[in-house]
Structure formats: C-alpha cells, structure tokens
Amino acid sequence: MSRETLVDHARALDCIHCGLCLTTCPTYQLTGLETSSPRGRIHLMRAVAEGRAEPDATFEDEMNFCLVCRHCESVCPAGVEFGAMMEFSRGALLERRPPGLLARLARWVGFRGILVRRAGLRLAAVGLRAVQLLRLDALVSPLLGLRGQIIRHMPRVPSARERRPLPPVTPAEGPPRGTVLVLDGCVMPELFGRVNRAMTDVLAATGREVRSVPKHVCCGALHAHNGELDQAEELARKTISQFNEVDGSAPVVIDSAGCGAHMKEYGRLLANDPEWRERASSFAARVVDLTEELASPEAIPRLRERLADGHGIQGPVTWDDPCHLCHGQGVREQPRQLLDLVPGLERVEMSGADSCCGSAGIYTVLRPEDSLDVLDPKLESLEQTGAKTLVTANPGCHQQWEIGVGKSGKGVEILHLAEVLERALRPR
C-alpha cells in the first residue's frame, strides 16, 4: 500500500494551518502537544503522504489517540472533514499493518462476532450480567487496573425483561402524524432498552406511529470509526435495505447520536459504489435525531400538551452535548429546547458542555487512561453546575458518565433525554 493511499491527501489540503481548532481538541487540551491536535494530525497525514514522515508506530498511536469527537469540525472555517479523514487513515493503517494476533482476535470477536449479531450481543449481555450479579467484576477489577475500575462502574445489565426488543409497531396516540422508523441498535437494547422504549412512547405521544426493524442489528458506526471500513460499508447496505423493507419513505429516528451522525453520512460512505450511491444519499436524508424530530414545530405543541410537573426528576438538570450530536450533526438548541419544555424542570448550563467526555465509542476500552483523563475536567464542570441530573442522548456518553460519576462517588443521576420526557408524560 502506498503512502498516498494511506491518508486522504485531497481532504488534507483543505487545512490552511490556521490553528483555530487547537483549543477545542480534547487531546491537545490534555497534552498541550500540537502533534495531538487536529491541525497537527492533518499535518502529519500530509507529511506522510508527501514522504516527509514515516507512518511508524508513533504516527499510528497519534491517530488512535484521537477521539474523533469532531469538535474541530464545528470551528473549522475551511470546512475540513476531519472525521472522514481520520476514518480513512485508520482504515488504511489497519490494512497496512494488521495488529497482533490477540488484538486481531479481539477485534474480530467484537466487530464481527458480537456487534453485528443479535445472538452475540445477547450472549455478551447475559455474560456481563452474570459477572455483575456474582460480583465477579468487583473481584477482578483490582487486578485490571484502570480497565478494572471501568468494568466495575459499568452500568448494570438489566434483567431480560428490560432487554426485550421493541414491538414491531407502536400505534400513535391522538390524531396521527404519520409513521417513523426507529433504530433498536446493537448495544442499546441490551444496556439501555428502557431508553428505546421511552423514545417509542414519547414519539407515539406526539402522534407518530412507530415501527421498529426487528431484523436489523448494527449501523456500522463503530466499525467506521475504528477503521473497519469494508465492514462498515457492508453494514450500511444492509441497514438501508432492511429499513426500506419496512418503509421506504418514513423518517428514520435515532436516539443514539453516534449512530445518527454515521447514518447521515451513508451517502459519503457509499459514494464510490455506483449501485448504492443514490439510495444511500436519499436514505441518509431521512435520518433525524430524536431531538430534531421532537423539536419540530408539529411535535412541540403535542408534547407541550402532554408534559406535566410531578415527574420527580432531581434538579437542577444539565445537558451534556454528545459530540456526534452537536459537532457531528450540528444539533445544539433542540435538546435544550425540549428540556425547557418540561414543567418544573430547572436547567443549568455546564461550561464546556460541547467538549468530549472521553467515551468516543469503544475508546474507553481501548485507551482507558486517556479516556478517563478526558473525562476529569468534565466531572469538574459538572460539579460546578451543582446539577443533580445529567442528560445526554448517546449510549457511549451515558455509560461513560455512569463510570465517571460512579468512580468519583457523586450522587448525580444520568438520564437519556427520552427518559426525561417519558417520565414527565402525563397519562392520556
């Protein structure tokens, strides 16, 4: 594989080296090292492509150190598509120098064995639940260092009842507003089944008929972020066909920001596939985040009618922007607007709400130390708000906050925005 194909050189040329991205980057904040900044990484990619630097182990480590939070894209005046460049480079690096046997096995099990198969996911969930019930996690965690701490504070895997899949159809309440498709997701039903159900209930309350896609398992976001591009493309094709089988025109509503951001970019992902390009773009155009759907002018009045005080949500409440919602999809106002809609809910802003919590997909597992270092300043900001509840809209962030709050012993409840709204829904 040549140097030129190792990085997305054309995209690297968009960067004019102005440096406005530096302060937004969590890894630059952490290290003060320009090498670990978006501009630095682009510069490295370009240096490699132009033969002035070697794609050695430190280069690879720098690429993997990035959280791909895409905060830099939000401030880049030149519109550099940093996330896409990073996926490209990671993919190329993986092909160029496959990781060691053990890591390869772990990746295979993770990306091909578990994530894409419902049975695999269930098995993993059952296993984890058993470990947690037997308190084995507490037993082994001291042996595993930081990873151990993370395992120990992982959210509990709920009971099997909680983990049941969404019903294929949930009828609309009140005057109907048409159908939407929702994504069960891979990890979501196993760890956060209640969030999916909350989403369904809230959507139905606004007059939407909600249909799930039982066959579907994984959108491929984690694969793309971690350089498994072939797999990611395959999963995208699968996702599109499976959703279209259920409904070929309904909006696709996503309650996991990472999946939503990725699915909105199917068009780009399959741009080189003449057979799929068109279909992928038109599918991507149907994808909306749950908060976008709920904050639409049609949904807001319906929601206002149904939301009531007495929800018992501990205030003050603060919103933490998932990176792939605010930077990946440019969605910032809608979640705040929705929280402000809930009667009796006091919302406070957290400083740096739009900076990364360190979850970044499977980053917590791959680089536990860096991940927790990135979370530390966020925990401080949370402390300063005095919030009793933190609201997010992405399973990775949700889990990361559970770990952080658990580790630091703070009594803060972490909720998905859909859960907040569901709790405040007045029964019809």
């Binding site: 040329l13 004019i16 320009e34 510069h43 050695d56």
Partner: protein, 489 residues
Amino acid sequence: MGSGRKQLSRQHLAELERIVGKKGVRTDATARAAYESDAFMLQRANAEVIVLPRTTEEAAAAIKVVRDAGLVVVPRGAGTGLSGGARPVENGAIVGTARMRGVLEVNAEDRYARVQAGVVNVHLTAACADVGLFYGPDPSSQTACTIGGNVGNNSGGPHGFKYGSTNRHVLGLTMVDSEGEVIELGGPGATGDGGLDLLGPVIGSEGMLGLVTEVTVQLLPRPEKVETLLCLFESLDDCCDAVSEMIARRLEPSAIEILDRLTIEAVEASVLRAGYPDNAEAVMLVEVEGGDEEVDATSADVIEVAREFGAFDTRRTTDPVERKRLWAGRKGAFGAMGRIAPDLYVADVVAPRTRLREIVTAATVACRERDLKLANVFHAGDGNLHPNISYDRRDADEVRRVLEAGRIIMEACVEAGGSLTGEHGIGLEKQDEMCLVFSDDDLAAMDQLRGAFDPDAFWNPGKMLPVRGCREIHTRPLPTHAQPAEDAS
C-alpha cells in the same frame, strides 16, 4: 554555535523529563513533524526536541538544560503566527507554553490580570467577564492564540483601532533569560516611569529577547453599549474611501473592518456563516462602543459617511448573539480561505489611512498580472491591510509569483509611507524587506539591542533581522524617512 547537527544526549533528555515530566518532552520524529511550521507554511524545519513546561520554574530549569546541551530555543505559543516566527531553527528546541494555561489572578478593583503565557486570548476575557471587565486586543486567531504569543508579536486585532495593540495593555512580564534566570519587569499600578522601559522593546520582539512565562495585563471596563454596523458597497474602492473619510472626520468607533466579495463568499460557505449579504462587492463592518449617547451619535455619523460614499444598504444591531455571529465570520475569514486553495499567503502591510484605496489597487493589479487569486479582508480603521493570496505550495511557479506579488505590495506600501507589518511580525517572511524600511545603521542598532538581552543569540536566532546585509539584498531604504530631515529636503 558550531555547525553540524546537535543532538540531545540521554542525560540531557532524562534531566528534561525530570523537570517537566515525561509527557512534557518529545523527541520522536512524529511529534516533531507537527511543529515543522506555524501558520506561515512556506518554510519548514525540524526541532530537535519539544519541551512543554508547566510553570516559570520548570521553564527556567529546562532552559538551563537546553543551553547546556548546546541547543538554541524557539519559544512557541499555539503556533498560529503568520510570519514564521515560531518555526523551529537548526539545532533548536521548541519551548512551548501550551501547558501554561493558568489564570493566576484577576483583580477587579485594580483592573488587571496575571496569567501564564499559554493562556488563550479568549480565555482571559472569559475569566474576567463576571467582574465586568475584558482584555482589549482581539486578534482574529483569538480563540487559539496565546497571550504570550500576543506579547511576542505585539498583536492587534479589529478592536486595536480603539484600544491599540498588545503593548498598550501589558503592565508586567515574567521572563526567563538565556542563563535560565527568572526576571520580573513592571507590574500592576503606575510603573515603568521610574526606570528604563524594558517592557517596551520586549513586547513585539518575536521571541528573540527571552521566554515570556507570565504576563500582567490591564483590563478594561465593559462598555455600556455596543453596536455593530454593516455597510454594503457596490465597489471596494468606495468602501476604502469611506473609511478614509471616517478617519478624516475623526469618528471614533472601536473597529472598522472591510471584507471583499471573495472573502464574503468563503466565509458564507463555512461553519462561521455570518449572514453577510451576497450582493455586495465589499462589506464594511464597524463596531461602536461606549455610553448610550455617544454610540448613537457615532453610529449615525458612520452611516452618514457610508451613504455619502455609496453604501446601498446599512444594517445595525446591538443583539449580542447577532453581533457575535458577525464577528465570528470576520475572525474566521483567514481559515475560510482554505476553501479556495490549499495555501494562503497573508500579507500584513500598513498604509497611511489617507491612501487605503491606492494600496488595495496596487495589490489587485499585482495579483491580476500574475494570475493569482486575491481576497481582501482588513483592519481598515488602522490602515492595516491583509491582501490574502491563495495558492498551492506544490506549484513552485505559483509560489514564486505569490512571493513576487507580496513583495510588490510591501514596496507599494513603503513607498506610500507605510510599513511591512502591522501585527503579524517580520519572522522569516519579511526579513529581506526590512531593508526597504531601515538603513544598515538602524538594523545594526536593532541587532545591538538584541545582543544586550541575548549576547549569544540563544533565542529564536535567524528571525526578524536580515541574515544578509542590505547592500547584498540590493534595496535601498525609504528615502524620505530614513535620512535626517535636512538631507531629504
């Protein structure tokens, strides 16, 4: 300093790691590659080592080690400089302030703040916002550039029109000299009157007199009212003339900026979309600050002049969100040019404000003749022009033409009684052109000044002052200013 590459010995490296911690020292090729240049991309060089101290004490101790190792030092903030001032040099270490981000003190009553040099410009203003104060200089890169870097370049920004550049705001500095000694200059209160004003020459010295590690700056009370005006013109010339007229009428807004059509298009296509209209050849962005009454009066005057000079539309707003958007567009303009071509040459000339149009025309002609794409965005109120020329550095001939055009613009400015740089510094970019402005004696005196602070050329050697003598470069200093008055008359 002898020739040949000097490398850091294992002992020196271990010593540096002991001082600043393992994460504060990098010598691997990957880490160093990212420091090849600052935002001036035409020249690259590799540093031997990157050192990132966290405190003045660490910096002082690290400097001693670096010196002992026979290396020289290039100080660096965020590397957003546009003239190559923070580019590494041969046998040089980069000593960066990126981990020195502490706001040490904000004193609301005496209106000053003391910060570590690596504090980002906007973070300083954020840190004093809740006591109703702000920091004056606002370079366009203020969301990334550091206060230490601002001191090095005597940085300005749009509001420099009212508040002046960095040198009007720095009250005191903590520095490390080439022996690794810590030196305090000035401080809050009425100072600098009693002794020699060493702050004066250090500010704007482009990192050549020492490493600035802490800065005490004055803070200003936030104005009662701020209004931002947008005046739209069908021609860039008229827009320039309107600015000249505003200066001639002695209006006192706090900023007067001009963006031309190409700049507007680039900004509007970016995430910093400011809502600049697409039907104007030039947009004048004006900010007026002060008491209610003076803002009203001055805004009315500004609009009157703009209309007289052909503005076909004017808009005004005091809404903070709207204002922020308008300014974000202006401040991201340079980066937005990345949409036009991979590289950008940002000129930084200053012209007398009576002759703005003349210089803009000269720049336009120079670029048109060389088939180059030119965008103008500048601090018109200060006469500080930024003709931005887009190019691709892989095209050697285009690079040559860009540099040629850049030089013609500088010459035109100097001819008109202007200068080479208003805020970006000389760095590596305009060393030779120093001879357009200064005589050999002037330059020798500057070198002596440098030598008084830094006898061994330890700090950022090879920058700012021409490496070759001016006679070799075959240029002559400006006749009217460089000679004693009676000789010129």
